[in-house]
Subunit: 312 residues, 2 copies
C-alpha cells in the first residue's frame, strides 16, 4: 500500500477533491469548478491537472500514490463504465481508461451515492460495519448499499435506487423518474414539503407552519417545538420511510441504516418517527438493524472515492 490516495467527487457545479493518507486521514481538501462545455470534455483533464498541481506542491510523486477514486453523478458499472451522466453532459465511456490518459496512477470510479455510502462505512456513521445501507434524504432519496464491505453496484449500475421503491398506490403527482408513488415523493426534502402542504390544506388546525416558508427544516423545527400538525406530518414521513426501509431490509438484511442528506440535519428525532413504522413492517429477522446518522456530510463522497482505491 502506497502512502497517499486522492478522492474526487464530481458534482454538477463543483468538483470536490481530497488528499488522503492510507490510514484514512484527509490531509487537504479543495474544490474546482465543473466545466460542462462540449459534453463535459474538460472535467477529467481539469481534475488530473489539479491533482498534479497538489502533488507538485506537496512533493508527492506518482510512486507515492495508490490511486485516484472518482465518484460520478450517474450509473457506473463495476468496471468503471459510466452510462450517461446527464448533469455533466457525459455519454458512455470508461472512466479509468480516459482518466488514465491524463494521469499515470490507478483510477477507480463509482456512482456518487454508492461512493458516499462507502465513505460513511470507511470513516463515517457506519464505521466498522460491513453490511449497511446509506440513505440520503436530499432533494431526492438516494441509496448506497454495502454488502460484505463491497458496494452493491447492480447489473446496470442502478443498485441502491431505493428512492424509487413504489410505496403509495394513490399518488397523482409524477416522480422525477416518471412513476407515481415512489418513496422519494414523501421522504425527500421536497417530499416532506409535499406532505406538509397537503396536511395544511386539509383543515384549519393551528400550526407554526402556517406563518412563513414550509421546508423540511421548518417542519422538524416545529416538531421539536411540539406543534401537533408538524408531528402529524413527521408521522406520515416516518410511516413511508419506515415502510420503505423495511422493504430494503427484507432484501439485503443490513446491520445498519446510515441516514444522511439535508433532511437528516433534524437529527435523531427522525428516528422517533422512522423506527415505529420500520418495526411494524419489517421481517422479524431484520428488526435489530440500527439507525445512525451520517457524519461526513458533503465530504462523504471524497472519503468514499479515496476508499475505492485504498480499501477495495
Amino acid at each position: 500500500m502506497k502512502k497517499y490516495a486522492f478522492g474526487v467527487d464530481i458534482g454538477g457545479t463543483t468538483v470536490k477533491l481530497g488528499l488522503f493518507d492510507k490510514e484514512g486521514n484527509v490531509l487537504e481538501k479543495w474544490e474546482i469548478p465543473t466545466v460542462k462545455d462540449n459534453g463535459g470534455e474538460r472535467i477529467l483533464p481539469d481534475v488530473a491537472d489539479s491533482i498534479k498541481e497538489m502533488m507538485a506542491a506537496k512533493g508527492i510523486t506518482e510512486d507515492d500514490v495508490e490511486g485516484v477514486g472518482v465518484g460520478v453523478p450517474g450509473p457506473v458499472d463495476a468496471q468503471g463504465n459510466v452510462q450517461k451522466a446527464v448533469n455533466l453532459g457525459w455519454g458512455v465511456f470508461n472512466i479509468p481508461e480516459v482518466m488514465g490518459s491524463y494521469i499515470n496512477v490507478p483510477v477507480k470510479a463509482g456512482n456518487d451515492a454508492n461512493v458516499a455510502a462507502y465513505g460513511e462505512m470507511w470513516q463515517g456513521g457506519g464505521k466498522g460495519c460491513s453490511n449497511m445501507v446509506a440513505v440520503t434524504l436530499g432533494t431526492g432519496v438516494g441509496g448506497g448499499i454495502i454488502i460484505g464491505g463491497q458496494i452493491l453496484t447492480g447489473a446496470t449500475g442502478a443498485g441502491g435506487e431505493i428512492g424509487h421503491i413504489h410505496i403509495e398506490d394513490n399518488e397523482t403527482d409524477v416522480c422525477g423518474c416518471q412513476n407515481r408513488g415512489c418513496l422519494e415523493q414523501y421522504a425527500s426534502a421536497t417530499g416532506v414539503v409535499r406532505l406538509a402542504t397537503r396536511r395544511l390544506a386539509k383543515d384549519d388546525a393551528p400550526s407554526i407552519l402556517r406563518s412563513g416558508d414550509v421546508s423540511a427544516k421548518t417542519v422538524f423545527d416545529a416538531v421539536k417545538a411540539g406543534d401537533t400538525v408538524a408531528i402529524e406530518i413527521a408521522e406520515q414521513f416516518g410511516e413511508y420511510l419506515g415502510k420503505g426501509l423495511a422493504a430494503v431490509a427484507a432484501v439485503v438484511n443490513p446491520e445498519m441504516f446510515v441516514i444522511g442528506g439535508g433532511v437528516s440535519k433534524a437529527g435523531e428525532i427522525l428516528f422517533d418517527y422512522i423506527r415505529p413504522a420500520y418495526e411494524k413492517y419489517v421481517f422479524h429477522g431484520c428488526r435489530s438493524a440500527k439507525l445512525a446518522l451520517a457524519i461526513l456530510g458533503n465530504d462523504a463522497g471524497i472519503f468514499g472515492a479515496a476508499a475505492l482505491v485504498l480499501c477495495e
Copy 2:
C-alpha cells in the same frame, strides 16, 4: 480443484444428497430420512455416514473430495453458523465445525433458499448470470439473492426474505411471520388460493373454479382455458408479485429473476401477468431485468450446495 464434491439439502422429512464432478455434473442422487429426535442430533452424523458409504462404493477417497456443501432450512451466516432451524429441532451451532467432526473434508453451509438460488445460477435457469434473484413460489415465497456471483447472506442470515416485503396495507389475515400484508400472502401457492377464494366470494360470476378444489394449479389451468374470473385472479397475483419484484429491483438491480417453486409449474404464462406490473412500478434503470423459469426443481438445493464448495 479436486475431482468430486457432495451437495446436501436438509429438509424436514428427507435429506437429499448428490455426488458431483467438478464440472457440475451430478453423478449420483439419493435421499435419506431426516431423523429429528433429540434436537436433530443424528442428522449431521447420518449425512456423514451416508456420504462415506457412497465414497466407499465408488472408490473415492477424502483426497478426491473438494468438500461437502450443506443447505439448511433456517438462517445461516457467512461463517456457517445456523441460528435455529425450527423444522429440524436445531439450536445455534457452527455447521462446518460439527460436520467436520464426522467427516474429514472441508464443509460449507448456507440457508436452503439461498443455496438453491446459487444452484440455479450455477447450472439452472440463471446459468451465466452473476447478479440474479431466485424467487420460490411455494407454500410461502422465498428468495435467494446472488450479487457478483456470491450469495447475499445479510447481517443475520435474513438476506433475500422477499416474501415478507409489505405490499398491502388493507390486509386482515396474519402472515406466518406475524405481520399483515406480506408479499407471501398473495404470491405463494396459498396466496393464490387466498386471492381466488376472495374473488369467488365477491359475486356469482361463472367460473370453472366453482366446481372442485381451488389451488394455484387449478387457477392457472383455468387461466389457460380462458376463464375470465381466473384471469382476474392471475392479474391480482401479477400485480402483487410484479410490484414486489420492482421493489427488489430498486434495491439490488438484478440482471434476472429466476422463478421457481410449485406455482411456477404453470410456466411462462405467469410472466404475462407479472411483467406488466413489474414494468409499471419498477425504476427505469432496472426495467430490462429478465424473467426466467427455474429449471432444477427439487435438485436446486443439492446443486447449489455442491457449488458452495466448487465455486465460492
